[in-house]
């Protein structure tokens, strides 16, 4: 009754193609954005920044990236952790080499460098498909992590091999380092993620997105009707790695402040991001956000409930948390294999008809 599209008429193709075709959706999204940009910065504290919002934004960015490659172009990749490491180390080297460089530019440059690396590691995708490709991308994961561990140039020959983000300011306010106020790092990440979410949406609704989806749905037919597979796959790898690289840079510079290849960019991260997009919804921008939210917030939530409310011992809670997350993943996949985004779509369709059952 309240959620409807009747009365929403489109008189031009441009209006028909807009991002949120239904008026109510549009208003809700603008409302959320306004809240996120204008209200949250005044409420935020260290805990919300470091435990909830930054992880969510960083992983949402990574999920967007992987969703472009896997969800839209159909190339399953388990190299996400490695590409995030490229972004993080590129970011570190840039920050140290050009201290005056604006952090936005640093992060974007780090993304571009990752994109180039991504193209190189995307080359096997031209011959290898499906799970064979997924496992083959693990080669990049392991190789990159090994490389950043092994070559001292990447960590500026520091004794331990850890990289730490030096303090950089934006408009005179620190945005990296310990002195950075939570609202600043939050707004920085939020701005990037918002802009690039819209860009991702623009890409997938146009020519490039269609060529990706065509390759995903039926690669041979796509080639015969005129989609160059080389260009489509490599551009997907490039764009995807670009996003993942930026998320790696954000993870290192803004969220954690220091990083080490094994702990921060291990294989577990690759699986985590793949999870996010599958739980959230393959081939859905919204799904990337929902998946990232689910998998970053759920553990915190479970922990707070079990340890904070029920007062269970931390170790029991930790084991139970693992068990519950596994069970929830299976539950969601059984209930809706197409992810939370699909669940949301179905709910919306029901809402349109509400209160009438059919």
């Amino acid at each position: 009754m309240f959620y409807r599209e009747s009365g929403d008429f489109k008189t031009s193709y441009s209006a028909d193609q807009q991002t949120f075709p239904i008026r109510l959706d549009r208003h809700v999204v603008y409302g959320i954005l306004a809240f996120a940009f204008l209200v949250v910065p005044f409420l935020i504290n260290d805990y919300w920044e470091k435990s909830v919002l930054l992880p969510f934004l960083v992983w949402a960015m990574a999920a967007l990236g992987l969703n472009i490659l896997t969800g839209f172009c159909g190339q399953v990749s388990l190299g996400t952790g490695g590409f995030m490491a490229v972004g993080a180390y590129a970011c570190y080297k840039l920050m140290v080499a050009f201290p005056w460089l604006n952090m936005f530019i640093v992060v974007i440059l780090a993304g571009l460098i990752t994109a180039m690396v991504g193209v190189v590691f995307g080359l096997p995708s031209l011959r290898i498909k499906g799970f064979y490709l997924a496992v083959a991308t693990l080669a990049s994961q392991f190789f990159l992590v090994w490389l950043f561990n092994k070559v001292p140039w990447f960590y500026n020959y520091s004794a331990s091999g850890m990289i730490s983000a030096p303090e950089r300011t934006l408009f005179g306010i620190p945005v990296t380092g310990a002195e950075a106020p939570p609202w600043m790092t939050y707004l920085f990440c939020l701005t990037l993620v918002t802009i690039f979410a819209f860009i991702a949406h623009n890409l997938v609704r146009g020519r490039i997105g269609r060529s990706w989806m065509a390759i995903r749905d039926m690669d041979i037919a796509a080639e015969i009707i005129g989609v160059p597979p080389l260009k489509a796959k490599l551009s997907a790898f490039a764009v995807s790695s670009f996003y993942i690289g930026m998320s790696g840079a954000m993870l290192f510079a803004l969220y954690l402040g220091s990083a080490e290849p094994n702990d921060s960019f291990g294989i577990a991260k690759s699986f985590l991001v793949l999870f996010m997009i599958i739980i959230g919804g393959l081939g859905s921008i919204l799904g990337s956000f929902l998946g990232a939210a689910f998998l970053t917030l759920m553990p915190v939530l479970l922990k707070n409930i079990m340890v904070g409310w029920f007062g269970w011992p931390a170790d029991l809670a930790a084991h139970l948390e693992l068990l519950l997350i596994g069970a929830l993943i299976m539950f969601f996949l059984i209930v809706e294999p197409h992810g939370l985004a699909q669940l949301w779509r179905v709910t919306k369709e029901r809402l349109r008809l509400w209160p009438f059952p059919h």
């Binding site: 260290d46 805990y47 919300w48 920044e49 470091k50 435990s51 909830v52 992880p55 140290v96 090994w146 561990n149 092994k150 520091s158 004794a159 331990s160 091999g161 850890m162 730490s164 030096p166 303090e167 380092g177 310990a178 002195e179 969220y255 954690l256 402040g257 220091s258 990083a259 080490e260 290849p261 094994n262 702990d263 921060s264 291990g266 917030l297 915190v300 939530l301 922990k303 707070n304 409930i305 340890v307 904070g308 409310w309 011992p313 931390a314 170790d315 809670a317 930790a318 084991h319 693992l322």
Partner: protein, 431 residues
């Protein structure tokens, strides 16, 4: 719709920090890990840490009459979770962090400095934080990795009657920030003492080390040092024993010196050595107190099953350092309730001598410590322990030995100054 709203409310509530600050108590958050690849080690350490504070509460009514609270937070040894644990506990009047992970330590160094909450990382973390002029809130006494490397070499020197010229020493290390720590020190020492150093990395997790150990078997080094962690230790020790490497010439760092590391290798591990900066076994008066006040009352952590293990003792020792520093701080500031900054003063003024250790029921458990404003790294006294597979226990086979300060101090100075320069920190003056 109602359900959905409730869900959202539940979500928001669940994400909020839920523990209520209890300002009257001394708050020592425990960042532990009991799951994941290193969970077995983390659990033993955390048990010791928790039990010591529980003992103080039970026996003495806390520290200086103030009860101690030890909220535990599971980090899974992951940097992200570590940060989350830190952020969710720091607001409740947290006095000290001991994250038991080098990765998390690096994450927290700038944060604790900004929040003015001290962090103590004995035997791990950032080695150069021993320089109190640069790292105001970070401590790592009584010993650090470089002390470990140095004492390891010193022990070999003793065994070889003072001469290591032409000897071959191989370092097997976990291919990570942690594992790479001793390399620079060992390189310096190899120049000084004339031994040849070979380093062999093992990639995490390290279940397959055939290549590495075949290489060692071919090289026949005189000594093998190991910087390992988790499953890497178990596999290395069992490979070494199977290949017939003399176990008494195989020396691990203190993180490769727990019962967990040697037991899977069975009899073969007999004679394996590891470095340590505290005593081993249950032969100290304090364990009687633990028995009467905790185990008997069913209050021991994990049912008391880890009491007396190497890592339990380490946890106990970590807690003891924290408690002693808190007591010192109470004296200095003449207050019962402490702040992070006051706790820092306590840590800097900590003086742990033989008499005090004896009074604590820990006579000869650990070397003396005298901390100061510039010295956050302690004396660097390290001993060697050896595994007796038949008895199933460790025993100390050396005294606590002084590390080569000449070499290490120079390295610490260089690294901490580099850090200060990179982060634009002006080293403070110490009076």
């Amino acid at each position: 719709m109602k359900l959905k709203k409730m869900g959202v409310a539940l979500l928001a509530a669940g994400l909020l920090v839920t523990s209520v600050p209890a300002m009257a108590d001394l708050m020592f958050p425990v960042l532990s890990y009991r799951t994941g690849p290193f969970g077995a080690n983390g659990a033993e350490n955390a048990d010791g840490y928790l039990d010591y504070f529980a003992l103080l509460n039970e026996r003495d009514g806390g520290i200086g009459g103030v009860k101690v609270q030890t909220p535990e937070c599971e980090t899974e040894y992951k940097p992200e979770k570590g940060v989350e644990c830190y952020e969710s506990t720091k607001g409740n009047g947290a006095l000290l962090y001991q994250p038991l992970s080098t990765g998390i330590t690096y994450q927290l160094i700038p944060k604790v400095t900004a929040d003015k909450i001290p962090m103590l990382t004995p035997g791990y973390g950032r080695t150069s934080s021993a320089n109190g002029k640069v790292f105001e809130y970070v401590f790592n006494y009584p010993a650090n990795y470089w002390d470990g490397a140095s004492v390891g070499v010193k022990y070999m020197l003793d065994q070889e009657k003072g001469d290591l010229k032409g000897k071959k020493i191989t370092l097997v290390y976990h291919n990570s920030a942690y594992g790479k720590e001793p390399i620079r020190t060992l390189e310096e020492l190899s120049k000084k003492h004339g031994f040849t150093l070979k380093t062999i990395p093992v990639d995490s997790p390290g279940q397959e080390q055939k290549s590495q150990w075949l290489e060692i078997r071919r090289d026949k080094p005189d000594y093998v040092l190991m910087w390992g962690w988790g499953v890497m230790n178990q596999v290395a020790i069992s490979e070494a024993s199977k290949m017939g490497f003399p176990m008494d010439k195989f020396i691990g760092i203190w993180w490769a010196g727990s019962e967990n590391d040697v037991k899977p290798a069975g009899e073969g591990a007999n004679g394996y050595k590891a470095l340590t900066f505290h005593g081993v076994g249950k032969d100290f008066p304090i364990f009687k107190d633990i028995e009467t006040h905790l185990v008997a009352k069913g209050k021991a952590s994990n049912g008391g099953k880890n009491i007396g293990t190497a890592l339990y003792n380490r946890g106990l020792y970590f807690a003891m350092l924290a408690a002693e520093a808190a007591a010192t701080a109470q004296k200095i500031h003449n207050t019962k309730d402490l702040t992070g900054a006051q706790m820092r003063d306590g840590l800097e003024a900590l003086k742990l001598d033989k008499a005090r250790l004896e009074a604590l029921g820990l006579a000869n458990f650990a070397p003396e410590i005298t901390a100061s404003c510039e010295n956050h790294g302690g004396s660097g006294l390290v001993a060697v322990q050896q595994w007796d597979a038949k008895a199933g226990s460790w025993k100390l086979v050396s005294d606590f030995m002084q590390s080569d300060r000449e070499v290490i101090d120079a390295l610490i100075k260089a690294d901490s100054e580099a850090f200060a320069a990179e982060n634009k920190i002006t080293p403070r003056e110490c009076k």
